[in-house]
């Protein structure tokens, strides 16, 4: 069987890639895509632990399904916010969205 640590390392790398996208991109939609990568790496961890640590319970899979539902809601609300920002500023670059700055 594939060692559990392989899955953990893979999802750590994917999480880091997604986080790099969140920190470095300007475009709000690109940041949303990177957040999806991060959520998926967490999901991969949950399912891998479910398979290796408690394979007869499947509770990790249920957690992964909840995360998926929340991620879908997050995309819907996030894109609505991005559309709103675009309508007001004609841009989705977050460095131009600084009206909350004091």
């Amino acid at each position: 069987m594939i060692p559990l640590s392989y899955y953990l390392m893979l999802s750590a790398v994917l999480f880091a890639i997604g986080m790099g996208g969140v920190l470095l991109r300007r475009n709000a939609v690109a940041i949303l895509l990177s957040v999806e990568i991060m959520l998926n790496s967490a999901n991969l961890n949950l399912v891998a632990f479910s398979r290796y640590v408690a394979p007869h319970e499947a509770s990790g899979q249920i957690f992964a399904l909840f995360v998926m539902a929340v991620a879908a809601a997050e995309v819907a609300v996030g894109l609505a916010l991005i559309l709103m920002i675009y309508r007001n500023l004609q841009s989705v670059n977050l460095d131009q969205f600084n009206i909350f700055k004091w």
């Binding site: 594939i2 475009n27 690109a30 398979r51």
Partner: protein
């Protein structure tokens, strides 16, 4: 399934997942980035099948590749800045970010190496779909209802936020 076969599948899927994730994060064309996100999500679904989580894998394909990617494509087209997105922030910020991310991965590798996980030798659940369905209706009934209310609230909230101001 033999060990070698599953290892080969694992590494093929891992290469696909990492490569497509990098393409999503670094690509200049947002439309292409969304397509690569679809490929990334499909490879993650492959891992779920490898881990005997068929229901999660199928739902990954339905919800993410079928739903989320399409919604994101709508968002990209509606905001109309498809090509030539200026990629990143200032250079110094980029280097700090890359160094700290490498540090994060190194720290996690250290933790994973030194932790002893209690690997169970039990056989996985045979029929995950009916098993999880039963759990949703018994032990996890409250979270299940809460998540339905959350989804309803997100749906209404998205419509309210995205609506033209003043309404029609």
């Amino acid at each position: 399934m033999g060990d070698t076969v599953s290892l080969v599948i694992f590494f093929a899927l891992a290469a696909m997942a990492v490569a497509s994730a990098i393409m999503v994060v670094t690509g200049r064309n947002l439309f292409h980035a969304a397509m690569f996100l679809g490929a990334h999500l499909l490879s993650i679904a492959g891992f779920y099948f490898l881990l005997n989580a068929e229901l999660v894998g199928i739902l990954q394909v339905f919800v993410y590749v079928g739903g989320v990617v399409v919604v994101v494509l709508f968002g990209i087209m509606l905001t109309a800045q498809i090509t030539n997105v200026r990629l990143t922030s200032a250079m110094e910020q980029r280097w700090v970010t890359v160094v700290s991310l490498i540090g994060l991965v190194g720290l996690l590798a250290f933790v994973v190496r030194d932790t002893v996980f209690r690997i169970s030798e039990m056989a996985p659940v045979e029929d995950t779909t009916s098993f999880i369905g039963r759990l949703f209706m018994t032990d996890y009934i409250l979270p299940f209802e809460v998540i339905s209310i959350l989804l309803l609230a997100a749906l209404i909230g998205a419509v309210v936020i995205a609506r033209e101001e003043g309404g029609k």
